[in-house]
């Protein structure tokens, strides 16, 4: 169990959130309505409202707990929490930033590796083809995760029902350029 420290830190995650995405975790008064409505809460290691509480403490240890949690990756971005939040704290927006931070600081929760793998594969396919190509995505995902037998049932049926195209609709497009520009800017600002 960690002790929440009261000492105020510069550039705590809550400051970062406020600066970059305008989300104020201090507004949260811990009513728990977000956790109550969250469809994934039962799977999470830290409930959404507790994530906010941890950030409120501004303690390094608490933030580490958040960034290395499974919860941030289990957020479905279904927006139910913010839709009903009495204080209108935009949790999904916060979650986006927390995931990015978790990646950046290499704190991704072990169980979340698949999810990260999926997202990365997804983005790669887009980078390569400009559009999503399911087979390409699945293939890369399987390589990354070694879940070779998953979906062996569904895929063939999809094929047969014409829901999977074997050749990507190829748009060697600008998209890869967008990626490189973003990359440049990142290095620049870093």
């Amino acid at each position: 169990m960690f002790e929440s420290s009261v000492e105020e830190r510069e550039n705590s995650l809550s400051d970062l959130l406020l600066r970059t995405s305008g989300v104020s975790v201090q507004r949260c008064y811990q009513c728990g309505k977000c956790s109550a409505g969250c469809p994934a809460a039962s799977e999470m290691d830290i409930a959404p409202s507790v994530v906010l509480r941890l950030l409120q403490t501004k303690s390094e240890e608490a933030e580490r707990r958040v960034l290395s949690s499974y919860a941030v990756w289990l957020c479905l971005a279904c927006q139910t929490c913010v839709a009903r939040c009495p204080m209108e704290v935009d949790l999904p927006k916060a979650m986006d930033l927390l995931r990015a931070e978790s990646l950046r600081r290499h704190l991704v929760h072990p169980n979340a590796k698949d999810i990260v793998a999926f997202h990365t594969s997804f983005i790669h396919t887009i980078k390569r083809f400009g559009r999503l190509w399911e087979i390409g995505l699945i293939a890369e995902y399987k390589l990354r995760t070694r879940h070779f037998w998953q979906d062996v049932v569904v895929a063939p049926v999809m094929l047969q029902k014409g829901k999977l195209s074997l050749i990507p609709s190829f748009h060697k497009s600008f998209v890869s350029r967008i990626f490189s520009r973003i990359q440049k800017q990142k290095e620049y600002s870093a």
Binding site: G32, A36, P86
Partner: protein, 665 residues
């Protein structure tokens, strides 16, 4: 040629430590018009005051300047001193040498120079002071109480029992307000009606109280001690004198499916109805919006059945003008409907109720005779969920404030439910338990410990129907906010307390201020909690903010004591520091050109139109006139006046210009 006396006070060392008082006295002695200038250790002491008294007589002073502490400290003292020796008190001014000079500056010439300036400024002012005389306004010793809930009832009885006249105006057909709807009251669980109804009857029978029910305040004019209120008595379509209250008419009425306001829409009433058995007065009214005669021109069943033929369809609204000296506003509050909560079922689930509806279910006089039953199928709920803060403390829904009463009545509801349904389960979802009050927290503990109500700390996210059940999805924030799902038979929302509809309009009629949520504002949140910013108008009960019964009654008695204080004298005396419009000899009469810009500026509607006419009634000109009763002396009108025709006594243009010119000379 004015003869001003100047008296410089050392205030022990307080002034003389940094200001050379002798020097100041000498300097000022040189100012033209100063007939006498001395300094003394303690001007406010008896010997000090005697110096002033003597000088006024011996030197025949026409004005006095006391240079000492802040006028906010001793102005009354020295003005009294002057009055005692025959000098009009308003010919005495103070120069603030202590707070504004000696205490805030170091010893030195600059400080002494400033002191001298401050004194001579006042000398120049006093030269131009005019003798003024306190204004006396008569007081009409009748109080108007708006609202017949517990707060209004308490205030009215206190005033009436002290021997003063009261006129009570209630907008519903009966007095009693929300308290008459309640089952039992926390923290003692005594029956609400049992303690209330005797007082309702007392109101009706009290010789000092005139009661107008089914009536509204149309307008209020005038000022403290001298208001005129216009009351609209809505047509009840009943001759109250003739009516015996037998109730035959209600039984005869064919329109019976109207949701009853008294039963919070859980019961039904007819178009002609007595709101509830203990109503005061116990006479029916016809709801013209529902009555089939008024809608179709046919029916009149009630009239044919009435043994006293007391029913008059042609009755008209009646307008009554009454003179009152003071007003107590006790119009109460209302509650948000469940439709305010889409996530809790849009008010479309029959078994999702408001706290007030649940009160009716618990009340022996209620639609289920005190047995909690589901509106949907009449079964007794075995599992019931109470949701606190339903709407309160919810900025997203536009209500930031805490409604104050919900924590307690929710505990009471859960407790009473357990008393009536022993094998039932009661759950309370709460954020905080705010049980500040005598015996309040003990009460909540009792609910938890003795009656085993399950308190869960967390807000509910959603309520939805599954078959017969209501699924309540919440979280337990004390267990790491783990999700909680309860299959309930009934859900009760502690909906927010809100201002009554029409509160805003009423506030504007009465010229009292109100907050963003349309609750009426007190003059000062701590030190003037029952006054409004309009003299003579006081607040009682939940029209100011959600309140429980003890608080409402307390504030009502406080308001009553304010009224009685006002009525304790036949006349009000007010400082004459008010605005006046100049008058001059014909043919000018006044430099006022009648543009009435001042009227728009005045916060107190104190500026009236006066028509100057010839003897044979020919209109010469219309000019502004200040109502000395209403004017509070802010002087805004003076700054607005384009022709400099309106001026403020005690702070006249002449006076302030003289002060400024003097210091810059």
């Amino acid at each position: 040629m004015s003869r001003i006396g100047v008296f410089i006070c050392h205030c022990g060392e307080n002034i003389s430590a940094t200001v050379d008082c002798e020097k100041v006295a000498k300097t000022v002695a040189g100012v033209p018009g100063v007939a006498h200038s001395v300094d003394y250790k303690y001007m406010c002491s008896d010997p000090g005051q005697n110096l002033i008294r003597q000088a006024i007589k011996e030197k025949e002073l026409t004005g006095v300047v006391v240079a000492a502490c802040s006028p906010r400290m001793h102005e009354p003292t020295f003005r009294r001193t002057c009055a005692e020796s025959g000098l009009n008190p308003f010919l005495c001014e103070m120069a603030n040498l202590r707070e504004h000079c000696s205490w805030v500056h170091a010893k030195g010439d600059a400080t002494t120079k400033k002191a001298a300036d401050l004194v001579s400024m006042m000398v120049e002012k006093v030269k131009r002071n005019k003798p003024l005389f306190p204004i006396k306004v008569p007081v009409t010793k009748t109080a108007l109480v708006i609202g017949g809930g517990i707060a209004g009832i308490q205030a009215a009885l206190d005033i009436a029992n002290a021997g003063q006249k009261v006129i009570m105006v209630e907008h519903d057909p009966s007095i009693g307000g929300h308290m008459s709807q309640l089952s039992e009251t926390f923290p003692t669980l005594d029956c609400s009606q049992c303690i209330l109804t005797p007082r309702m009857v007392e109101i009706a029978q009290h010789q000092n109280i005139t009661l107008y029910t089914y009536a509204e305040v149309e307008s209020l004019t005038g000022f403290i001690g001298n208001f005129t209120a216009r009351i609209r008595k809505k047509a009840k379509s009943i001759d109250e004198k003739a009516c015996t209250g037998c109730g035959e008419c209600a039984t005869a009425c064919p329109i019976k499916k109207i949701p009853s306001e008294f039963n919070a829409r859980l019961g039904l009433r007819s178009a002609i109805y007595i709101p509830f058995p203990q109503a005061v007065p116990n006479k029916p009214v016809i709801d013209r919006t529902r009555c089939s005669y008024f809608k179709t021109g046919k029916c009149k069943f009630c009239q044919t059945k009435c043994p006293a033929n007391a029913i008059h369809f042609d009755q008209q609204d009646e307008l009554i003008d009454i003179e009152v000296g003071s007003v107590v506003v006790a119009t109460g509050f209302n509650i948000k409907e469940t439709s305010f909560f889409p996530e809790y079922g849009y008010g479309k689930y029959k078994d999702v109720l408001t706290g007030l509806q649940f009160e009716r279910l618990l009340s022996a006089s209620g639609p289920t005779l005190g047995e909690p039953r589901r509106p949907s199928d009449g079964t007794v709920p075995k599992k019931i969920v109470f949701i606190a803060c339903a709407g309160s403390r919810d900025p997203a829904k536009g209500i930031e404030y805490c409604s104050k009463i919900c924590c307690m009545y929710t505990a009471k509801h859960a407790m009473l439910y357990k008393h009536k349904v022993h094998d039932g389960d009661a759950y309370v979802f709460y954020m905080d338990i705010r049980a500040g009050g005598k015996g309040y927290d003990e009460f909540v503990r009792r609910a938890i410990e003795e009656d085993q109500v399950n308190y869960i700390r967390g807000r509910v996210s959603r309520v939805y129907e599954r078959g017969e059940k209501l699924i309540v999805r919440g979280a337990d924030t004390l267990l790491g906010a783990q999700p909680v799902e309860i299959e309930a038979d009934m859900v009760v929302l502690a909906t927010a307390g809100i201002a009554n509809d029409g509160a805003e309009e009423l506030a504007q009629k009465l010229h009292v201020s109100y907050d963003a949520h349309h609750f009426f504002s007190e003059a000062h949140p701590k030190l003037r909690p029952v006054e409004t910013n309009t003299a003579g108008i006081f607040l009682a009960g939940a029209c100011q903010a959600p309140k429980d019964i003890p608080d409402s009654v307390g504030q009502a008695s406080a308001a009553a004591s304010k009224v009685l204080g006002l009525f304790s004298a036949d006349e009000l005396t007010r400082e004459p520091l008010i605005a006046v419009v100049n008058r001059s000899a014909p043919p000018v009469f006044s430099t006022c050109v009648g543009c009435f810009t001042c009227q728009t500026a005045c916060p107190y509607n104190a500026i009236e139109r006066e028509e100057i006419k010839t003897r044979d009634g020919m209109l010469i000109k219309t000019v502004a006139k200040v109502n000395s009763g209403l004017c509070q002396g802010c002087g805004t009108c003076v700054a607005f006046c384009r022709s400099k025709s309106i001026d403020l006594q005690g702070y006249s243009n002449e006076q302030v210009y003289a002060e400024v010119m003097e210091v810059l000379a």
